[in-house]
Amino acid sequence: MSTATLTLLALGVVNVVVALLLAPLYEGIMRKLRAALHSRKGPPITQPYWDLAKLLGKEDLRSARGALYTLTPALTLGAVLTLALFVPMGARPPLGMAGDIIVVIYVTAMSAVLLMLTAFAGGGPYASVGGSREMMMLLTVEPVMAVALLVGAVKARTLAVSGIVSWQAAHGPTLSTVIAGVAFFLALQAQAGKLPFDVPEADQEIMGGPLIEQSGPRLALFRWALWSKQLVLTVLLVELFVPWPRLGIFPADLALTLLKALVVLLLVALVEVVNPRLRIDQAMGYYMRVAFSSLAALAFAVIGM
């Protein structure tokens, strides 16, 4: 094997390890911040790992049959890990190719679609309501993300994530990319399933929505996938819209990226703590407005601002 292939392989391993093994830690830190703002002591930051370990060791109970239903937890986690391979983490993305931002958009949607399929397969009313809310959120949040990515693409004149990152690193912030970055951040809140946009899960209304009938290892995999997704998308955000400074030394760049991701996720946790939950129509209305505002960013990008 050539060195280039080996490097890519190594980068791939790094990305998967970050997405899988660090995601629960980020969740743990977010919980700690939440607790602090609640005047609580909160669980130890390693609690999410223990949660996963406990759930993975439990009996596997299923409320529906069929190969797809059986596989959805694994497929969801798989989709998120695939996404991780398209995201640069301190270096170029392990699976970069021309036009890969389209793939990123698709793969991001995939985990949500799989969760929806799981919800509808069980047939329970809470899961069904959760599933349809998941779909409505997906339909309004994905366009925001897509437009934000497209702004980067227009500026860098490439449809490759790595191309956008290097253009950004070289040229510094512009009006359109800043707006697009903010829009991406707002979409992240919903993608991470955090308040005020955790409408599809809404514990107090539909008791966890799509996840209500999941337990044990299946629940563990879904949880893990959602935590990983939240981290991977955050890394994508910081790499695309705040890639500076680029030191060129991989471990330093990786550490910097992860640190920036922590700051962003703490902001996400902060927004979560100070907001009650929106209703689905209000959440959709909100993202429609964000989508239209990000279209302005696209217009700015086209005229070169």
Partner: protein, 566 residues
Amino acid sequence: MMVDNATVRRLSEVLRERLGPAVRDVKRDAADTLRFVLDRGAVRAAVTALNDEFNARFLISAGTDRRPLSGDYGIEHLFSIDREHLFVVLECAVAPDDARIDSITPIIPGANWAEREFRDVIGVSPEGHPDPRRLIVADDWPADIHPLRRDVPHDCRPEPAVGVRQPLADPPAGANVFAMGPFFPVLEEPSYWRLFTEGETIVGCDFRGFYNHRGIEKLGDSALTYNEIPYLAERICGICGFIHSACYCQAVEKAAEIELPRRAAYIRTLMLELERIHSHLLWLGIAGHILGFDTVLMQVWRIREPVMWLAEEISGNRKTYGMNTIGGVRRDLPDHLVPKLLEVLATLEKECVAVRDAIVGDTILHARAKNVGPLSNDWAKRVCVAGPTARGSGVAIDARIDHPYAAYDEVPVRIAVEQEGDTWARVVVRVNEVLEAIRLMRETVRAMPNGPIVAELAGEIPAGRTAVSVVEAPRGEAVHYVITGGDNRPYRWRVRAPTYPNLQAVPEMVKGQNIADVPITLGSLDPCFSCTERVEALDVRTSELRVYTHDELLRLSPWHRGEEPR
């Protein structure tokens, strides 16, 4: 009291004029209570007259098995004419061989449950009732046993009956059923709301409740004595128990004409307001939680904690103080606690103002609470809701003002009223009431007279007296009605908790709303169903506690005995 005798005269005249000889008798049970003894056929006409001419508000109905006394069943409808500070009781005798009476629900929708309840427990059927399904008895309770009849012992355990279960309402064509309950996380207590939905929009709903009916009234008139009942009454509610023991004691004091020492009245006022503060703060936290706003829950419960400590210092308990007794209270407020009490109130007031400002300025809270769960002024009056639920819809009633008790005649309340009738209005009413309660507590402590805290009781409580008593609980007015009996216990003790009328308003409030709005709409009533989460059995001889397992409970269920599951 402030009852105007001209009103009493006019009331008698109007009813006599409209009903003629059907008015058998008019009695003045107490200065503020007027009783009309009617032919049972005249009950609807009498209710119409009270409704049209006097704006009377229905409180509750009481059914009494009077066969050992007068050979009949007594049905009494209790009303309050709030502006006149007057209670009106319509009493009808119903013969046991023709146990029927005209239903008043077609005139007063708020009488719906009350009439179904006396049908269940006494066996007098309300004729022409729009929804005559069983209400409070269990699904397998035999149809021919009416638990509040005198010949049914309080520990009666009939063989479970088959095929008597109440049918649940069917959804309209094209609608789905979204079950909220019998156990649902934000309801905390069992109650079953079947929401009929099209998409996420609610087109109707059906209710089944009373899963934990504890037979408290039955125990009161068959197993306990006058002075034991306050401790049972206090356990009617785990949050506002003091309200119920105070309300019961007031009813007995009124019936027996016992004068409450002023200091006792002030201590009751103090504890009632203390309870209002901690109840409203508890509610505010839960309301935040229902909307996913756990920061509100955690912070509000943090500032509530010193209130609980204060209650513990005064009474020895955080909750369920055991302080009320007939004729007074059992614990004095020691002088050395007063500075501490004022200090806690000062901190609390500062923090409550901060919470209020934070809530009032939160735009998402506005979005989630404004125009959500609307209850119109007209419907609020017709369903006879009470407390903040009524005051949030512009119905300016408050038992502390309309029927002053304890020391509220000397420490008057400033009523909090909002007009909008939505969840937001109910939030605002309660938040303002917390601040008002803090002010009231300060005034009470400042004005508290010295003296005895319990009245000397002169002899036995005479039999055959009646009294209506109300206390403004945090959720609305609690009503206790007592008919005194001969064996050192009430002949009949009727309790109406404020959630009883308030829940009946829910179907109208959720119609056309989103599923997401139902928890907070229900929550905005501050509902209080009952407080048992699982079945524990305590063997009193061996003090052994045993918790039933899932399988054991399943074996006891009707489903297990071969009935179709719902």
